[in-house]
């Protein structure tokens, strides 16, 4: 089942990317990133059947990182929302070049 799971992971990852590119809402953007991370986890796990448990160890780390990222990201979104009353990414462009 290795090939199929890798294919699935690729598809999920691509859907995540398409989501990131198309959606303008910060929250949904975050979720798409989460989806991409999950896709990666899947491929980790799939390959761990071949290369041993280190794959799964990495999945754990990925999850922790994802959790940390989500926490901080959401905190930021909340701070922005409180300040600008919107989560539209296009309106938040203070860092214009």
């Amino acid at each position: 089942m290795l090939a199929e799971s890798l294919a699935l992971s690729a598809v999920l990852f691509t859907i995540g990317v398409v989501g990131v590119l198309t959606r303008r809402n910060a929250i949904i953007l975050f979720m798409c990133v989460e989806l991409m991370l999950n896709a990666v986890n899947l491929s980790f796990v799939a390959l761990s059947t071949l290369y041993g448990a280190t794959g799964q160890v990495f999945v754990i780390f990925v999850m922790t990182v994802a959790a940390a990222e989500a926490a901080v990201g959401l905190a930021i979104i909340i701070a922005i929302f409180r300040h600008r009353q919107t989560v539209h990414l296009d309106d938040i462009n203070l860092l214009k070049g």
Partner: protein, 188 residues
Amino acid sequence: MDNTFHPLFYGFHFYLFGLIAIASAILFVTRKSPVAAALWLINVMFCLAALYVMLDAQFIGAIQVLVYAGAIMVVFLFVVMLLNLGQPNDLADVRGTGPRIAAGAVGLAILAEVMVLARSRIPEGYAPTAAANLPAPAADAAGGVIAPVAGPLFREHLLAFELTSILLLAAIVGAVVIGKKQGAADAR
């Protein structure tokens, strides 16, 4: 191991959960309201958990459900509720048709490349050494399912483990500081 005994059953379930995962992922991306999107994402996560279990990563499957779907997605939902973003109508969320087509094209491009790479020969440098090709981490009696994961976690990757813990700590402090009320920050 399992597939040797009941290939059909194993294969069927595998494809079942795969398709469900893809469908819900597509639906997740196309939903207007963040809440619906979140729920579809949780669904994807459950399918993945199932796949993990089928791939002999039972611990990871449990963690997936427990941490990912349970904790992180709950936080997302919580934030959505907190900021009252639920109304789908006022958010012209999705970009115009032009960017969407472009995004689709990019997605296809990535898929195509991955397919090409998948078929290409794995260069000799990266091929798995014979030693690594030992049988799948059989659930030996003593450690149960977790032992094959816990062993390397606390032996080779101890440092990484400690670092992630520090990372989590930092994230927590960060989230608290950023999330604090605006007024308190100005008081300093």
